[in-house]
């Protein structure tokens, strides 16, 4: 039995199938970071740290005439988003209901996807994660609200990357507000702004909940590493007569290998 304890939940196979499918459907559009950075794993729940291949000096050693250094690792962070499902709704799912209320799951999926994106793009200090925007060595570019100017700002970011020797294609993580503005906008002559931006970056333009403004990131590979222990899973916490308490969980580390391979565009 795995640590998720799914076998202990009063949830039928049919209902588990429904819950897992719903979670996948809700998570996939929102997991922006996974669309733009390298992915390694899953290495399993037991995986606890990523080796950095570096050492820290130690002040002393157990005896004279011996030197000591300590290996540095990046510990895995566990994210967990709890939610509850009504047992009456689960019984209806078993009867074949198509409109089962899984709103709490949808909300938990949104929260954990946003947290993952935020950790990757803006960092998670308590977990020792430096985000892409924080790590960037380039001056941030102000994005602003005037989306007619976005092509100019994104082109400036691409130019900064080229000057640093970071070749394309590039990807653009756009926060929800900026993404909506881009979708709504046509430039002079009716050409969609979305297509114009894609031509500049030559790569994907991604709706990225949790991102403030936008971030242009290299897509050549090897610059940003998202390493997963346990990939997103659903586990069982407890239940009573009315509801089953479940949770979404994942464990990962993230590190920026090439700080000058991204440019932040601030809101």
């Amino acid at each position: 039995m795995s640590h998720l304890l799914r076998e202990h939940a009063p949830v039928s196979e049919t209902a588990w199938g429904l819950i897992d499918d719903e979670a996948r459907d809700r998570l996939t559009p929102a997991l922006a970071a996974r669309k733009l950075v390298d992915f390694a794993g899953p290495h399993g729940w037991e995986h606890s740290a990523t080796s950095l291949g570096r050492t820290s000096a130690l002040a002393g050693a157990p005896v004279d005439g011996v030197t000591a250094v300590q290996r540095r690792v990046l510990p895995v962070v566990e994210l967990r988003a709890p939610f509850a499902v009504s047992r009456a709704e689960l019984r209806d799912a078993d009867r074949g209901a198509e409109d089962v209320d899984l709103d709490a799951l949808d909300e938990a999926a949104r929260r954990i996807a946003t947290a993952e994106n935020r950790a990757v793009f803006h960092g998670f200090e308590d977990a020792g994660i430096m985000g892409i925007a924080q790590a960037s060595t380039h001056d941030p570019i102000a994005l602003g609200d005037e989306c007619e100017l976005y092509p100019r700002h994104v082109a400036r970011a691409v130019e900064a990357l080229l000057r640093a020797g970071v070749g394309g294609p590039y990807g653009l993580a756009l926060g929800p507000a900026a993404y909506t503005r881009v979708l709504e906008t046509s430039e002079h002559g009716g050409y969609p702004l979305f297509e114009h931006l894609r031509k500049i970056i030559e790569g994907p333009l991604v709706w990225s909940p949790g991102v403030d403004g936008a971030v242009v990131v290299s897509q050549r590979g090897g610059d940003f590493l998202f390493e997963v222990g346990e990939d997103l899973s659903i586990g069982y916490e407890s239940h009573d007569a009315d509801a089953v308490e479940l949770y979404l969980v994942e464990s990962f580390t993230f590190r920026v290998v090439t700080p000058d391979a991204a440019v932040a565009l601030t809101p």
Binding site: A23, R34, L36, A40, P42, D231, I234
Partner: protein
């Protein structure tokens, strides 16, 4: 009748696992029958009887292949490894090692769940964006 193809209480096992276990038991029985026929044929002096048993053994080989195909269709990683081993010329052990290494590396690169994992299997989404 025994239910000893189940190593764990059958009531606690999902339907899929019970079906998988039944086919594993069937595969074992076919393999045993193939071995038994081989031994019987080796000691039988009557030509007609040997021909009948050879024919029956062929049926067992066919059932064995069908059982194996069923199991491999449900385990894509092991299917990929088996494809590198089955019907290949050359060193079988070498093919096995190479096929396993290649298949596992490729699966890890795609971020596929570990064997036996109950994760949602989302993994990497590179290439999924517009």
């Amino acid at each position: 009748m025994g239910f000893d193809q189940y190593h764990e209480p059958a009531a606690e096992l999902p339907d899929e696992t019970r079906t998988f276990a039944r086919l594993c038991a069937s595969l074992t029985e076919e393999a045993e029958a193939i071995g038994w026929y081989e031994q019987r044929i080796a000691v039988e002096s009557d030509r007609q009887a040997r021909a009948i048993m050879r024919d029956a053994q062929g049926e067992e080989f066919k059932h064995f292949a069908m059982d194996l195909e069923f199991l491999l269709r449900r385990t894509p990683l092991w299917r990929e490894i088996a494809e590198g081993i089955l019907f290949q010329e050359g060193d079988i052990v070498e093919h096995g090692e190479e096929a396993e290494e290649e298949a596992v590396e490729e699966a890890a690169g795609r971020g596929e769940p570990l064997v036996g994992s109950t994760s949602l299997g989302i993994g990497s989404l590179r290439g999924a964006a517009s």
